[in-house]
């Protein structure tokens, strides 16, 4: 689906400073070489299986199914991966690729901290230096993950520019990359940024839908009716959708963070409220004002608190292949609590956005229909913030 210049319809491209052009060209060439290299793929599969714990389970949520009284619900348990989220899938791939390219240093941006933790983990494993940029606001919201990254040997740099959240961490990581390219790989965490990142990250995350397909065929002998995942930049969603894109009967539903609602300024629902623009290396949809200034977005979830969306999602939206729906903070928090009480699974607040949408649609579906929800990460990191949301002050 990607054309040579990394376009998804009108979206994508390489809108970056000249200083970085040879770096992304080198990355693309190396990736095109190694993605077809059997030795590389063997090594990566070994890491994914033996180190990260793949394949992740596709769990039949029987209590939830009965409670909602509609479609049969399966949970794709990316939360059970090593480091607690889907982020490790992409990071192991990129770190291995970087190592093959002779890079000795990984830099990364992080929102909730899951991608930062995954990058710090891969760097520790592969003996690489690691620097993670994290919005200062997020270092407060996700203090535990900051400590985990430091424990893993990474340097965490709090970013104070702009809104001090995920978009500013991306900007700062890009600035750092322009100043140090020869030994450094920018391990981008989502299906965003300049080509080839949206394609590389999607390919490394596509293992999610590859497994879902095999597992559901084995368990049910048929494909699901809907696959639901949360969307910030959109890496776990594209990973969950990818191998179903050609199966037109499978509904693909991305859940965006609506924050306090799409009719307020405190939202991060890009497809619901944004428009076409050029930012962070790509053409896609962005939350912005009438003059193209990027909007200071908001969500309770640090991982979805981003004013753009990956170019392939923008394209899937344009052609009507995937649906994108807004989910508010309140709905996500209720879903967080619901899954904990009903299934004994505490999902990340990001993933809770997908659970919340399933709570809306599953009861209206028939009992012979199947819904798969990707639980992209575990919710331990969010407990203090959710407690605060409910007016309870706990110390981590």
């Amino acid at each position: 689906m990607t054309n040579p210049k990394g376009r998804f319809g009108v979206h994508g491209g390489q809108y970056i400073p000249e200083t970085l052009m040879n770096a992304v060209i080198e990355l693309e060439q190396s990736y095109n070489h190694y993605k077809n290299d059997p030795a590389f793929n063997r090594e990566l599969t070994e890491l994914l299986n033996e180190y990260a714990g793949r394949p992740s389970r596709l769990y039949y949520a029987e209590k939830m199914t009965k409670d909602l009284g509609g479609a049969k619900i399966y949970l794709k348990r990316e939360d059970l991966n090593h480091t607690g989220a889907h982020k490790i899938n992409n990071v192991l791939g990129q770190a291995l690729l970087a190592k093959k390219m002779g890079k000795t240093r990984l830099i990364a941006e992080t929102g909730a901290g899951q991608h930062g933790v995954a990058t710090a983990t891969a760097a520790a494993l592969m003996g690489m230096e690691c620097v993670v940029f994290m919005g200062e606001e997020d270092t407060r919201r996700q203090a535990l993950n900051v400590y985990r990254m430091r424990l893993l040997g990474a340097q965490v740099i709090p970013v104070t520019s702009g809104t001090a959240t995920l978009k500013d961490a991306v900007s700062e990581a890009m600035r750092e990359w322009t100043s140090r390219i020869s030994d450094t790989h920018y391990c981008l965490g989502s299906v965003m940024g300049p080509h080839p990142f949206p394609t590389i990250v999607r390919d490394f995350q596509a293992v999610i839908s590859k497994e879902i397909k095999e597992q559901i065929l084995q368990k049910e002998g048929r494909l699901p009716d809907a696959v639901i995942a949360c969307v910030g930049g959109g890496s776990n969603a594209i990973g969950s959708f990818y191998h179903f894109i050609e199966d037109k009967d499978v509904r693909l539903i991305g859940c965006e963070a609506a924050g306090r609602g799409i009719n307020t300024f405190e939202t991060a629902a890009t497809i619901s409220t944004g428009r076409l623009g050029i930012f962070h290396g790509m053409k896609s949809y962005f939350c912005q004002d009438e003059y193209g200034q990027i909007a200071p977005v908001y969500s309770i979830s640090a991982g979805l608190d981003y004013p753009g969306v990956g170019p392939e999602h923008a394209y899937l939206h344009d052609i009507g292949r995937a649906e994108y729906v807004p989910v508010t903070d309140d709905e996500a928090v209720c879903a967080f609590e619901y899954l904990a009480k009903t299934e004994g699974i505490i999902p990340a607040i990001e993933s809770s956005h997908a659970v919340a949408h399933a709570l809306k649609i599953a009861p209206k579906m028939d009992s012979d229909q199947i819904v798969v929800i990707t639980i992209s990460g575990r919710g331990d990191k969010d407990c203090a913030a959710i407690a605060r949301y409910r007016g309870e002050d706990i110390h981590e």
């Binding site: 491209g13 390489q14 200083t19 702009g162 978009k167 050029i278 930012f279 003059y291 193209g292 990027i294």
Partner: protein, 257 residues
Amino acid sequence: MSRIQTAFENGKAFIAFITCGDPDLSTTAAAVRAAAENGADLIELGIPFSDPTAEGPVIQGANIRALKGGVTTDKIFALVKELRRDVTIPLVFMTYANVVFSYGAERFISTCKEIGIDGLILPDIPFEEKEEFLPICRRYGVDLISLIAPTSENRIAMIAKEAEGFLYIVSSLGVTGMRSEIKTDLASIVQVVCQNTDTPCAIGFGISTPEQAAKMANLTDGVIVGSAIVKLLERYGKDAPPHIGAYVKSMKDALRS
């Protein structure tokens, strides 16, 4: 021939960068006039962007101050219109792709032509993406300025061959900002540039002192200074224009010697 060529007809060119609306637009107007009167050959007017990924802390700060002060693209167009009553040196806009794209490329670039803007510098539009704006720039006679970086290597000839207005040679890796030392082998870059184009070239990123300017001018047709001027605006605010005038004079004098 575009008006930008005239900037390179008075010896080595001194190019000044000023963020519009920092701290307010009347100060910007006074700063532009002070720079022009004291020997600036071309002025880059920065249209602030919320997330300037190619800028160091100094110009980032100017962008934030300007946007907080309520500056908009339309107000900057009005400022240029007013400046063009007496300022005759070439003026170019330096901003980010989304500012142009979001305004509507055709609407933005046709307005540039109408108000007397001679060129456009967009650091997030590399050679591969210039088709986004180039056909419209050509139609309205606004030069789309190309940049060459220390990492461009095998790309220099390709970029130089299609250069318009002037070539912006980025002196160092990283973002804009003052540097004590510039280590890039600029002579080799300039050599490849000259083999491939007659378009003049100017070096920017990291230059702040008259000594650096004189040294860089030995290699090229001009120098570009941004952060050092923005720093004067940060320090003196509304009182910055005379300081900018004196600074520009010292830099242009260094280029003459």
